[in-house]
Amino acid sequence: MTTTPMVDIRGVHKFFGELHVLKGIDLQVQRGEVCVVLGPSGSGKSTLIRCINELEQISAGRLYVDGELMGLREEDGTLYRLSDEQIAKQRERVGMVFQRFNLFPHMTARENVMEAPRQVRGLRKDEAAKLADEQLARVGLSDRADHYPAQLSGGQQQRVAIARALAMEPELMLFDEPTSALDPELVGEVLGVMQELAASGMTMIVVTHEVGFAREVGDQVVFMDDGVIVERGEPRQVIDSPREQRTKDFFDKVL
């Protein structure tokens, strides 16, 4: 039986001016799969997931989420760009968590989570509040709903950010180095929430430096370097017995 992959990336390139950041990426992530992207800084991992929800426009190739071409419409061999509204619509199905949380500082944790359901999906205030409280409970922060982000620890802020993304009921979650800005003792609580999310069947693409998480939670590990996917496969195979020399060099250094 063949099913449409949740994410289907075909021959994607990305240029920033003259800078060639992604050099022909092919990647499929199946529904319910957790794909962990590892690699050195500047290898293009973050750019890749920012392309998936169109925070960056791809320069070449095609990118599909659940079979739908992202950012473009193809008709009789001609490509048309989608309008901002259409792209915003496509983004609703994709949740994103950022390295620096990017919570809205003038809103409490609950208001942060309520914002998109209210403004994008048009939920009533009481509905959105109920949804927000459910999502905050899911990340273990029911008792912090009325706190402003500045009154929360980094780990708590990142969990609110995860709840905020989940409140839009996405089919796919993107994590852009979600623990890199955290104090070491706070990393665990965020990874814990992500692990539970993976266990609940969410499709996830995680850019991270947490090799342990990749090994434990990942279904597929992708190793990127210099804009290309060097190696991919089962986590244990890629991390513990890589086939490529570049992959081996990287894990020798970080492990």
């Binding site: 915003a88 609703e92 994008v120 500045a150 839009m168």
Partner: protein, 313 residues
């Protein structure tokens, strides 16, 4: 543990402090002596005219012009700043041209121009350029000097304020745009609900400054000419009575009084928005008079103050 003996040393001698104090006392004494003994001030005339009904009405008109011009200015400023950040190049160009024109010519020149509106355009016609005319009205029907003074002052102010608004919007961390965008929020919603509330702490304090500045700029509307505001009225009374100095003092006292009141509001506003306090002070809840919400914004460090922000016409 035994308490250590605290250092109790003599401060460094500062003779310059006493020299400066001496100079200031001398100058101040000379000035006060002059105020009391120089008959040309005519304090009796100042006292007679300070609450003269004509002067009071002029004070009210000055306030009307100030408030009217600032309301129009702020409206224009926000519109133009948003247009300059638009994805539409035509709107960006229009906003740029507006700012270029109104900042590039003196306010006095602009005010004279507004006064000559009826001369330049005796009738206002709605129609297609070089084509048919649809609707036409005599300009004198709606021409009122005070209204045109407000338009003149407001459009000029809008150009300066829009740079302040733009700097405020740009001071908000790019991650805020990205987070809202990633949630599927539209640009306009992101701007009004996410970015603008955070930009306020950068925008509002200099706007207070601009208001104080506007109070004094209203004295230029004699160019239109509007003859109702404080500077013109006191000057006219003074010239008529051959006593210009005491009436200038009346005007100065009123300007200083209103400015002082505005400055109190200004410092309240700055406190509310936590200007001049760093993140750690806000963290510890140390800033008195600052709202919880503003403290939360300040402590999050998502807004970066621009040191080159103060813009004065």
């Amino acid at each position: 543990m035994q308490r250590p003996e605290l250092i109790d040393a003599r401060p460094v001698p500062r003779p310059s402090l006493w020299i400066w104090a001496g100079i200031v006392v001398l100058v101040a004494a000379a000035f006060i002596y002059d105020l009391f003994t120089n008959g040309n001030y005519r304090w009796d005339v100042v006292a007679d005219h300070l609450f003269d009904p004509r002067v009071l009405s002029a004070v009210v008109w000055t306030l009307i012009l100030t408030v009217g011009a600032m309301v129009l200015g702020i409206t224009m400023a926000v519109t133009m700043a948003v247009m300059r950040m638009s994805t539409n190049p035509i709107l960006r160009g229009v906003a740029w041209a507006y700012i270029w024109f109104f900042r590039g010519t003196p306010i006095f020149t602009q005010l004279i121009f507004w006064g000559l509106f009826v001369v330049l355009w005796p009738t206002i016609t709605l129609g297609i350029p070089f084509g048919p005319e649809l609707f036409s009205v005599d300009s004198n029907v709606f021409y009122t000097p005070a209204l045109f003074a407000i338009i003149g002052l407001g459009l000029n102010e809008g150009a300066y304020l829009s740079e302040i608004v733009r700097a405020g919007l740009n001071s908000v961390d790019k991650g805020q745009w990205e987070a809202a965008t990633a949630l599927g929020m539209k640009r306009s919603k992101t701007l009004w609900r996410i970015v603008m509330p955070q930009a306020m702490r950068v925008i509002v304090p200099p706007t207070g400054n601009e208001t104080i500045s506007m109070l004094k700029t209203t004295s230029l509307v004699l160019a239109v000419p509007v003859s109702l505001e404080l500077q013109f009225v006191t000057n006219a009374i003074g010239n008529k009575a051959f006593l210009p100095i005491p009436l200038l003092i009346v005007a100065a006292i009123w300007y200083l009084f209103i400015t002082s009141v505005l400055m109190v509001f200004q410092s309240r506003l700055e406190r509310y928005y936590g200007k001049g306090f760093d993140d750690s002070e806000a963290d510890r809840g140390k800033v008195k008079g600052m709202s919880k919400r503003q403290q939360a914004i300040l402590a999050s460090g998502t807004v970066h103050d621009d040191p080159n922000l103060e813009v004065t016409p």
